[in-house]
Symmetry: C2
DNA sequence: GTACAATATTGATCTAGATCAGAAACCGCC
DNA sequence: GGCGGTTTCTGATCTAGATCAATATTGTAC
């Protein structure tokens, strides 16, 4: 399952249509981002392990296309999804020098992979690199704050929030793609898959969303969803 | 309620015995910590507001004595405690330039207060300052990861975890002090005060803890608590 | 296309913890 | 010390969402 770092092949995936076209983000990343410029583009096939918990954290990753989940396995066997990483997002910059989570490719993934040590050395000399590292951690803090806030809310609020967040992070059209299976969403929001299903059903009955397929939903009444998460 | 920055007075508090004697931590902070050296010591009386949500985040704080809570007020009126800050802990280094939370003194507090702009300028020139900022954010990420993990667990596990964490963060003796009221613990752990009370009662019946007073408990069977949070 | 496995939905119970209500303990103050 | 407000504890219900169980749908491989 583990993918060696240079994996220069990419199978065709049924989820390819679920993810954001990478063009503009790659452009931004390569132009404005001092770290991405240092790295090399690596491809991971769907389901591949990008890194494992407790492995040495040697690389820093930025998603270019596809979707990545990072998660931890708890002692009771439960799985906690830490985050979903979409094009433009960084992951793998752990507080320690060991990965605190697993990272797997949800769909086929292209990512810019940079040696952490190289980044660290560069940050010593260049302020913009040091600044960028601080910004990456700042974003991660905000995501975690959102997640903790979320975990104190009702299932309906969590799921509405998740849909809106995915809408914001992927295409801005009213069609939201959920590249990950229900199990992942459940483990991220701290509810069961059954609750996800039921609640999506309720939101659809209310006429606020419409499900095209399990991985593709339409926003019919975004304002109502926003009011719900307020 | 808002405390102007130089508040050079300190009333005597009944909670003074609940907090860690500051000597060794202050020593470490001033000696090893390149940021703390830049700041000035400020006192806040119990209950004082240190900063408010949406205020410009001009300062960075490090607790020297006492305890601070940071929290957010949600749109539904509920209060979410973000963190408790004990001697040695930094707070106020927001991802943005506005505070995302309130900070209040739980007991009388002494804190080293440093201008963020000064820190930022210094970080441009000195690698150790830039590094320290990254470390502070790294610690915050770990705390938030712990909290998200916690919020998916049962009330008993959350409370046992909280006691152990407080034991670790304050004196290492078997007596744990909880300087904050039950309401704060409840809002931090995402349970009700009633559940806190009942669960502490259960832990006491099990012979794992013994409550000296509401704010002071003895660990009778630390191993059992650790097994519980595993 | 057909078949099989994985994923998602729907239905019927059960329970941890919320909520509501009140009693007891504690603290600061005079 | 005794008083009044806050904090904590205890008891009785209620409910959101978990769990258990079965069915339906979807995607993949042949």
């Amino acid at each position: 399952m583990a993918a060696e770092l240079p994996v220069p092949r990419c199978s065709v995936s049924c989820y390819d249509d679920c993810v954001l076209p990478p063009a503009k983000l790659t452009g931004r990343a390569l132009a404005d981002d001092p770290i991405a410029k240092m790295g090399t583009l690596v491809r991971y096939p769907r389901g591949a392990e990008i890194f494992g918990q407790d492995q040495p954290a040697e690389y820093l990753y930025q998603v270019v296309t596809g979707a990545v989940r990072t998660f931890r396995i708890l002692t009771d066997g439960r799985r906690q999804i830490c985050a979903f990483h979409l094009p433009g997002d960084y992951f793998g910059l752990e507080p320690g020098d060991q990965h605190a989570s697993y990272a797997f490719a949800i769909s086929d993934v292209q990512a810019i992979v940079t040696e952490r040590e190289l980044v660290a050395r560069r940050a010593d000399r260049r302020r913009d690199v040091a600044k960028q590292l601080l910004v990456i951690r700042g974003k991660e803090i905000q995501n975690l704050q959102d997640q903790t806030l979320l975990l104190t809310k009702t299932a309906e609020e969590r799921i509405a929030w998740f849909i809106l967040q995915m809408a914001r992070r992927t295409t801005s059209s009213s069609t939201v793609s959920l590249p990950m299976p229900r199990r992942d969403i459940a483990d991220y929001l701290g509810v069961t898959v059954e609750t996800i299903s039921r609640t999506l059903g309720q939101l659809e009955s209310a006429g606020w969303i419409e499900s095209m397929s399990p991985r593709q939903i339409q926003l019919k009444n975004q304002a109502a969803l926003i009011r719900l998460v307020s």
